[in-house]
């Protein structure tokens, strides 16, 4: 071979990893085996740099039905129902081809959820791009949104929420994380462990092509650079129609109990799905690649084993139920091909017809991936440049408020969420921008009450302070849930970080995981699943550390759920919760061109406790308006309540100490509430700060701006630059 590098290095394996493979096989691997090992031992599949850290996260709770390790986590929501959910990244494919990258990201996370037997009922998206003055960022944002909409809208799963931030460090490495929430009768959840020696392994769905060959290892673990065209993957094209048939077909097979186990094909394709099924079931699997239906002629066995063609699932079925499987698949027009058998060898053996072309111990592939210790070190110098300065220190308060509302991080994301079908399925009780969390009814599914879902993370604050910023992401999710009266049941996360072999990235990762852990412990919320995406770096360094958090909660009575809009003239407005606002790390500081090092000390227990109180108040049903204080501080939160309600408010912040920090400072735990005076005053610890009415937002002594002007800034900012 005329490779510049030894083939294993070309595939991203170190020399010592290669020796480990030789040792486990007792011989040199052939090309197919090397390809399979390189993928299974990649960061993406093997969690080489993150597994040890993830062990710190709390994963248990009385209502947890499936924890980390399955395709998706699942919690019990009562009435015999389970909610399964997971968030996953598709960052690099989206940077290469934003429309298809985002679309297939959604397709992939949907499969993870129906792989556990749950019907997908909601998608949320968490996106990061460079600043919108960059043409490339506008292009990526525009097409990523189209791609997410395309897949979700076409398959009939509503996209009910999400978040988007625009920050310089994402310019060369956008983030596209998608979360899916699914619902199933509890007893229908299925695990992916292959079972029953002699059972058949059947491939369902699309034909296999040369999609994403080399994707998982080369694509997900090398830093993107424009020069290196040889690493350009072949782009995967999503086919939501194929997936919609596959989804209905799999759910029917599960309902009939036809399958012994089910697994989606994601990164590393057949290699990883078959070896993981075998590993969990403590069995072996024989696969005959010559039986795999191909889309392209002349594919080699190794290509078939690692292809990442979309819209495929792998299942195990007893031989006597094959006919039933064929019948159901026929009705849904889903291709089903028997490609292998469950064995007792605990080896993954690959055949091409009668020829054996690969033979690997399952344990070596799945469990023996070398794990590395991080070598964290706090960076002596700031890691990130200051953001561009956009606002002078001497700006008047009104100008500041309008600048904040028009800052793309704070501005309305209507441009994005109107391109998503947020209501298909008839469960959506609170759509995007109607409340802090999306609310989904369980009524048609035989459940009582509703679930609430939210996804959050402010990467810039994590960059300022990885521990506090990550804890805040969890608290922010919990606050969003509390605003609609929901109690958190479980959490999923996607750790988007730079190169963990760099000490300062390792330091960010370590502190962020500690922050996640402590906030989860304070709230009593278990982590039931997640995903890790490392090596997110561009030429100018790593992205902001971005531990995206998705949370699912339950609320008893949808009738009591308030919105975030101010409702009626004369309603009293109060600030509730434990709020200690500070300008450190705030959006205002960003506009002023500053990035803090360190955030104020955070008392996660105090914030967690205050959310319990808020939840109880919301559930009691007296409040008309509840909105948590987030990016842009209290003034922006009040403005958002005004804009949503089309009504003004008169507020005096003197009771909060007044000044800039009270108006524009940020921090977890603050919540704006409004309603009839008695209802508002009955909330423990709430400080009445004003009343709803008029056509302007007035902050005594600071500013008075017509609601129409606030709305123009907030609604107009993104469309004016993107469309």
């Amino acid at each position: 071979m005329s490779h510049a590098l030894a083939p294993h290095r070309e595939l991203g394996l170190t020399d010592s990893e290669y020796e480990g493979i030789v040792e486990r096989l007792g011989r040199e691997p052939n090309a197919l085996e090397l390809a399979v090992f390189s993928l299974m031992w990649s960061e993406h599949c093997g969690y080489k740099h993150s597994k040890k850290l993830l062990g710190q996260l709390p994963t248990e709770g009385p209502w947890v039905l499936m924890g980390p390790g399955e395709n998706a986590g699942a919690v019990d929501v009562g009435d015999g129902l389970a909610v399964a959910f997971k968030v996953e990244s598709h960052n690099h494919p989206s940077a290469v081809e934003p429309f298809q990258g985002a679309a297939t990201g959604v397709g992939g996370i949907l499969r993870d959820v129906f792989a556990v037997g749950a019907r997908p009922i909601a998608v949320l998206d968490s996106l990061r791009f460079g600043e919108l003055d960059s043409r490339r960022s506008r292009f990526l944002f525009d097409w990523v949104v189209k791609g997410i909409g395309h897949y979700g809208n076409s398959i009939g799963v509503p996209t009910v929420g999400g978040e988007v931030y625009f920050e310089g460090p994402y310019e060369h490495n956008c983030l596209v994380n998608a979360m899916c929430v699914g619902l199933a009768p509890r007893e229908r959840l299925i695990r992916s462990a292959a079972a029953g020696v002699g059972n058949r392994v059947v491939l369902l769905g699309a034909r296999t092509g040369r999609d994403g060959i080399g994707g998982a290892s080369v694509l997900a673990s090398a830093e993107l650079s424009d020069e290196d065209a040889s690493k350009r993957p072949s782009v995967q094209i999503g086919d939501p129609f194929e997936e919609s048939k596959l989804l209905e077909c799999c759910l029917e097979l599960l309902q009939r109990g036809t399958l012994a186990s089910l697994q989606d094909l994601g990164a590393a394709g057949l290699s990883s799905s078959s070896s993981e099924m075998a590993s969990k079931g403590e069995v072996g699997i024989d696969i005959d690649v010559s039986r795999v239906p191909l889309r392209e002629a002349g594919m080699e066995p190794f290509e078939i084993m690692i292809s990442e063609s979309q819209e495929r699932m792998l299942c195990v079925v007893e031989p006597e139920r094959l006919a039933e499987l064929t019948e159901v698949c026929g009705r849904w027009e889903v291709r089903a091909t028997e490609i292998g058998t469950v064995t007792d060898t605990r080896r993954l053996r690959v055949f091409d017809g009668d020829d054996e072309v690969g033979d690997m111990p399952v344990e070596a592939l799945v469990d023996d991936c070398p794990l590395y210790d991080l070598e964290p070190a706090e960076p002596p110098e700031p890691v990130y440049p200051d953001p561009p300065r956009r606002l002078g220190d001497d700006a008047q308060a009104a100008e500041t408020l309008l600048a904040l509302l028009g800052s793309p991080n704070v501005a309305s994301k209507r441009f994005a969420f109107e391109q998503y079908d947020s209501i298909v399925g008839s469960r959506t009780l609170r759509r995007p921008a109607a409340a802090d969390a999306a609310v989904l009814s369980l009524d048609h599914d035989g459940g009582s009450g509703a679930i609430a879902v939210s996804i959050d993370c402010n990467g810039r604050r994590v960059a300022c302070d990885p521990y506090a910023g990550a804890a805040e992401a969890v608290l922010e999710c919990a606050a969003n849930l509390a605003c609609v009266g929901a109690e958190p049941l479980g959490l999923t996360n996607c750790l988007n970080f730079g190169n963990p072999e760099k000490p300062h990235v390792a330091w960010q990762l370590q502190l962020a995981v500690a922050g996640l852990r402590d906030a989860c412990l304070a709230l009593g919320v278990p982590v039931v699943g997640g995903n890790v995406s490392l090596y997110n770096e561009g030429a100018e360094g790593p992205i902001y550390p971005t531990p995206v958090v998705g949370m699912v909660g339950k609320l008893p009575d949808p009738e009591t759920v308030p919105g975030l809009a101010f409702a009626d003239e004369g309603h009293a407005i109060a600030l509730a919760g434990r709020f200690a606002p500070s300008l450190e790390g705030s959006e205002l500081e960003k506009l002023r061109g500053r990035l803090a090092r360190g955030l104020p000390r955070l008392d996660v227990h105090a914030v967690a406790d205050s959310l319990v109180g808020l939840r109880a108040v919301v559930r009691a049903g007296g409040l008309a308006t509840v909105h948590d204080v987030s990016d842009g501080g209290l003034a922006c939160a009040l403005a958002e309540c005004c804009i949503a309600g089309g009504i003004g408010a008169r507020v005096d912040l003197a009771a909060l100490g007044g000044g800039e920090a009270a108006a524009f400072g940020e921090g977890p735990g603050g919540v704006v509430i409004a309603g009839p005076r008695e209802a508002v005053e009955s909330v423990e610890g709430a400080v009445v700060i004003g009343r709803v009415g008029g056509d302007s937002l007035e902050l005594a002594g600071l500013l008075s701006v017509p609601v129409s002007e606030l709305a123009a800034a907030h609604e107009g900012a993104i469309p004016s630059v993107v469309s």
Partner: protein, 75 residues
């Protein structure tokens, strides 16, 4: 400009049309591919390939072909 899905790239539209044609009883149909057709008048045809590269076609997943029609041929 004729813009087509690159060889080997999944073409769900083409598949759907092929199946639909079969279902309608059209036999002997194969290799159906659906692409895009962009037509324009241009003063300087030498710049058309650049237009394709930069905007009209997505070089990662599409190939393009430029067909020039003389002034007269354009109705």
């Amino acid at each position: 400009m004729l813009i087509r899905p690159k060889e080997g790239i999944l073409d769900p539209q083409g598949q759907a049309v092929e199946q639909a044609l079969r279902a309608l009883g059209f036999e002997g149909v194969g290799h159906v591919h659906v692409g895009r057709l962009v037509e324009l008048d241009v003063d300087d045809p030498s710049r058309v390939p650049e237009m394709c590269e930069r905007l009209l076609a997505n070089p990662l997943i599409e190939d393009y072909e430029v067909v020039l029609l003389e002034e007269a041929a354009v109705s």
